[in-house]
């Protein structure tokens, strides 16, 4: 069961060769042992998980009778990033501020997976309020990378990535504001996809930077990502930015040949100044060579404003965060400071104690760039540069179908290595942030290892709504290579 893909697991369940309860118990046992070692979960609730598994078994037993239907995901466990509100589950967002918060309702994404019959395995660890690239800002401590437990799994969806890499969960959810699905997927050696902005509803997903936040799946293959996205995507009136589009089957193009696929290689991704580690560059170049063997053609493109994406992001995301996080004031839910003198003092102490250092820092940045006299120089300038960055992609996609490059300039770094210097940490998202600013879909798949045996991620960026084409390219690559099937040496059955 350890290495079953979601499709295989779904088939075993549908054929009744294994029950959903047995599958859930198998993965819960791993979550309780290996999951604890890696600190991948914030909350496990066996009773809730098994209740849902029993319901899935009932659904599978009735399948085909009286018009009852089970889907390809029915009975398959999925771990949810602790940013998604799930009714009755503690939902902390990795913060002391929400340590005692029991969500009173379900996020749309949770509703969708529930409706598909998936079994929630638990809530995964994450950087506090999704602000981080290493999972070290979590109130619940860092997550460890299954490939080397002295290194980070990436962030902010670090627990989800580590759980899938360590075969603790066959699937997981994540969110990606500046790379928080793709970067941990790369550093943990799994597949992760951030859809086009607006494809998945943000309802019930605790907000960080609303114009950038997007939910997406983690799995071990592109094919599994397609199945998960089929369940996850869809219009939801409760998110004002949810897109009203006809449902699509994201698996429809998986088996198509990629002969003639035009791959764009942004020269800025491969320039020496980009600071790509040599092992990462080598693995990415080998992957591009594989795509050419499969019949794809390569064209150089340019994203001349890409170097501005990190500064632009660190104006816009904190600005939106400072507004979104103003709701955490100790009045209606969450943490309240034990001692205070008056209302203002209650707000200030609650927020000083309830938020960790990185979240406080970003709220301060955001407050400053929105404050009187600085708005034009920072916030407005950043919005204008965002336009230029997005336009670069529009130009590039006139010449190519997908863009390939590294997901992250390095492989997993040591726990503590970058935590003292925020700027160094921010720069580790150099290749992912521009995609969020433009609102494009992006994904990361494993494409090799560095000299220390740590995984390297290949980033595939598509034009708006080109998810099925990206998944097609990734799936064809995965038919010809086996990087995505490698298991961390420490992870045993």
């Amino acid at each position: 069961m350890l290495n079953f893909t979601i499709r295989q697991l779904g088939a075993e369940l549908a054929a009744r060769r294994v029950s959903s309860v047995e599958v859930a118990q198998y993965f819960l046992a791993r979550a309780n042992t290996l999951g604890k070692t890696l600190n991948a979960f914030i909350t496990l609730d066996e009773e809730k998980t098994l209740a849902r598994a029993r319901a899935a078994d009932a659904m599978l037993a009735r399948a085909g009778k009286d018009g009852n239907e089970a889907g390809p995901l029915t009975g398959v466990p999925i771990a949810h990033k602790d940013i998604f509100c799930a009714k009755g589950w503690r939902t902390t967002c990795g913060s002391q501020m929400l340590d005692n918060f029991i969500a009173p309702y379900d996020a749309h994404v949770i509703e969708r997976f529930d409706a598909a019959g998936m079994v929630p395995l638990g809530k995964t660890n994450m950087d506090e309020f999704a602000m981080g690239s290493s999972n070290e800002t979590s109130f619940y401590g860092p997550v460890r990378n299954p490939w080397n437990t002295e290194t980070v799994p990436g962030g902010s969806s670090g627990g989800s990535a580590a759980a899938v890499a360590a075969r603790i969960a066959p699937a997981a959810t994540g969110t990606d504001t500046g790379g928080s699905i793709r970067q941990p997927a790369a550093l943990s050696g799994v597949c992760g996809l951030k859809p086009t902005y607006g494809v998945c509803s943000r309802y019930g997903m605790i907000a960080f930077a609303s114009s950038l936040d997007q939910a997406g799946p983690f799995a071990r293959s592109a094919e599994d990502l397609a199945l998960l996205l089929n369940a996850m995507a869809g219009f939801d009136a409760r998110d004002s930015t949810s897109l009203e589009r006809a449902p699509e089957d994201y698996a429809r193009d998986l088996d198509k040949s990629i002969a003639g696929l035009r791959i764009g290689l942004p020269k800025e991704f491969f320039a020496d100044a980009g600071g790509v580690a040599p092992d990462v560059a080598r693995a990415v170049e080998a992957a591009i060579a594989e795509f050419r063997r499969l019949g794809a053609t390569v064209v150089e493109v340019s994203l001349p404003n890409m170097h501005l994406s990190v500064p632009v992001y660190y104006v816009l995301a904190p600005a939106e965060a400072s507004s979104n996080l103003s709701r955490f004031d100790g009045v209606r839910y969450g943490y309240r400071a034990p001692e205070y003198s008056d209302l203002l003092d209650m707000y200030k102490k609650t927020r000083a104690q309830g938020f960790g250092a990185e979240v406080r820092r970003r709220i301060l940045i955001g407050t400053y760039v929105l404050s009187h006299g600085y708005y034009d120089a920072y916030y407005l300038q950043a919005q204008k540069l965002r336009r230029l960055i997005a336009n670069d992609f529009i130009e590039a996609f006139k010449q190519c179908d997908v863009i390939l490059g590294p997901t992250s300039p390095t492989t997993a770094f040591r726990i503590g290595e970058k935590s003292a210097d925020p700027v160094q940490m921010y720069l580790s998202d150099i290749y992912t942030i521009a995609v969020n600013l433009a609102g494009l879909p992006g994904m990361s798949i494993p494409c090799g290892f560095d000299g220390r045996g740590l995984p390297v991620g290949l980033q595939i960026i598509g034009d708006y709504f080109a998810e099925s084409r990206m998944l097609n390219a990734a799936h064809q690559y995965q038919q010809a290579t086996d990087w995505h099937t490698r298991v961390p040496p420490e992870v045993k059955a």
Partner: protein, 95 residues
């Protein structure tokens, strides 16, 4: 961008976050470093560029002005720090 301790105090007040005096200097140094990165933006001439607020140009939907949510006050207040008679309690603001 040179921040002063007064700037940090002003921003922290606006953000409603208390900063201990011992943390002020470290916060100042970190913000200065981050704004060193952000200042790269100022080198670009963006005259005539339309600001981009959102990834997709979408028009906000309208809906009927009708009640769509049931009353969940009890459920929501069950997780509040302090409530009484259906009200959220905060320190007295009017003498």
């Amino acid at each position: 961008m040179a921040f002063s301790p007064d700037d940090v105090a002003r921003i922290a007040h606006l953000a409603r976050i208390e900063i201990e005096p011992c943390d002020s200097e470290r916060t100042l140094a970190q913000l200065t470093g981050i704004f060193g990165l952000i200042e790269q933006m100022q080198a670009v001439d963006t005259r005539g560029v339309e600001p981009m607020a959102h990834a997709r140009d979408v028009t906000l939907r309208l809906r009927e002005d009708a009640v769509t949510e049931p009353d969940q006050r009890a459920a929501f207040q069950a997780i509040a720090p302090q409530v009484e008679a259906g009200l959220y309690l905060v320190p007295k603001v009017i003498e």
